[in-house]
Homo-oligomer: 296 residues x 2
DNA sequence: TGCTTGCTATAAGTTTATATTATATCATGC
DNA sequence: GCATGATATAATATAAACTTATAGCAAGCA
């Protein structure tokens, strides 16, 4: 390749204008500068590219050949720059997010709403899945960042920023009124009809882990697929539901359900924003992350 | 467009190698030079293109985007240079020539043969046609150069280089033996049965012009389409043929025909190589022209 | 922890190449 | 034959890029 690609900019302009003088004006340099650049180019390629006439210049057949390549080459570069600017100014682009149902519903949604309002041109792709799947997607480069509810991220390449607390509660209806305003021992859960999530979920694992650390083992009467279901089961007094507080928020406010109180605090979990440490976020993704972190 | 396209060469190499140090080695410059060039590029585009890590660098999403364009852009330029070299070294290319039957047969053919022998990869396209058509093709850019037999080229944009003399002769067979070794006056042609080319040919016009300048007007008994035919007619003693000497060369040598001699020389015509003054020839075309001019 | 390794970044000074100004040269058209 | 409008050349100035030396930083390892 020739020593200085800048020469091609000169070549391109001269070919377009058919005159060194005009090209010089367009390039905002002097006419001799153009003359010398062309000379350099012709010397390096060992080919005469222009026929110099008294009324300007025009391409030789070889110059003509080269010109077509130079034109499309430079336009490619220019197009690349233009696309880059559009992405940088967020006129186009996409953000790929991995999130669980819970983080999406109780945390992410309002941010996505605001983001989309400000940047309607940016496509937002949400891949719904539990924590392990989200982390897998992250390392595979399929998502820009994720929002997970589990606190246990041990991959050293992943950075997790807690963005919100999550409180796990045991909720129940009037059938269990005697327990209201009483402070229970965790051990008593073993004798209550528990309604919880299935075993393969991270929320369930978290709770089981915590309870077992305190010598408590529960054998739920109902194991359901969704937290919403658990709340409904609890409302119908089928047992004591174990869910993140958010799912039962309304019922707790209305008094349909109440939360059991224990002599020991159930440690809070966090929603965490996870991203790859050694990978940069796209402008759009970074923008959304900033929005989340600034106003969390 | 960015101020210095050289930066893209650096960008491309760094992206390919994933390391400033390796890129510097490949570009035969120092590592700081690479670092500075990237910094310039990032500043000018106002975009971070690489994530710097301790084990090298890798592209940001924006860098990735730009990279695809830069890659194809630079490859385009490189491909252009490669094609140019191939044309310059005559590994590919074509030469378009306009020539009449006569110039082709009695002049050009051996040159084309030699040229093709030396440069078998170069396509040679010969467009057969009389002088005016050849000149028209030339100005239209349909041929690189032409070979014509007429001396009258008045277009100021066309350069005509005489390459060979052509002698017009009047030839006849034994029926006209009495005229052999006699020096005739041109006037006597008026009483001989002339065999000549059709009126719309430039050879015919040339001869008519010359004769009329000398007060002679001929009324041919035969007007034929080709000079070869004229020679055959003359051999059968149907009259006195007017042709370029080349057509009757063999017959004159064998004695089947002889040429009339006049007290006034018929001015010689020339085969001329015509090309456009203000247009450069392709390397291949120039090469063939040089071959012709060197050994004419 | 501290050491080594393998990177990139920064600073200062030098070199190189590119630009400018002034002027020469050349062909064209009036 | 001279004015015009173009490109080329020469000398000088300027600015950009390169180099060397060195700092800084993160990761891997003892």
């Amino acid at each position: 390749m020739i020593s200085n690609l800048e020469y091609y900019k000169v070549f391109y302009t001269v070919a377009k204008e058919g005159s060194l003088t005009k090209a010089a004006r367009e390039l905002h340099i002097s006419q001799p500068a153009v003359s010398q650049a062309l000379k350099q180019l012709e010397t390096q390629l060992d080919t005469v590219l222009f026929v110099r006439a008294s009324r300007g210049v025009h391409l030789t057949p070889e110059g003509e050949l080269l010109s077509s390549y130079v034109q499309s080459g430079l336009e490619q570069l220019l197009h690349g720059e233009a696309e880059l600017m559009r992405r940088k100014n967020m006129e186009v682009g996409e953000v790929r997010i991995g999130a669980s149902d819970m983080t999406l519903e109780f945390f992410l949604l309002p941010y996505l709403e605001r983001f989309h309002e400000h940047h309607p041109e940016i496509k937002v792709l949400v891949t719904n899945g539990p924590t392990p799947e989200t982390l897998q997607y992250l390392t595979a480069g399929k998502i820009d960042f994720g929002l997970v509810s589990s606190p246990d991220v041990d991959d050293p390449h992943i950075r997790a920023i807690p963005v919100r607390e999550v409180e796990d509660v045991f909720v129940c209806g009037r059938r269990f009124l005697p327990y209201k305003n009483k402070t229970l021992d965790l051990k008593e859960l073993e004798h209550l009809p528990i309604i919880s999530l299935e075993q393969n979920t991270s929320s369930r694992r978290y709770m089981d882990q915590f309870l077992s650390e305190n010598g408590v083992t529960i054998q739920p009467e109902f194991e359901l697929a969704g937290s919403n279901m658990i709340v409904q089961f609890a409302e119908r007094n089928l047992g004591v539901g174990c869910v993140a507080r958010d799912f039962a928020e309304q019922q707790l406010k209305e008094g349909t359900l109440f939360a059991l109180r224990f002599n020991q605090l159930i440690p809070k979990r966090h929603f965490s924003l996870v991203s790859l440490k050694n990978t940069a976020l796209s402008v759009a993704a970074q923008n959304l992350v900033d929005l989340i972190l600034e106003t969390r």
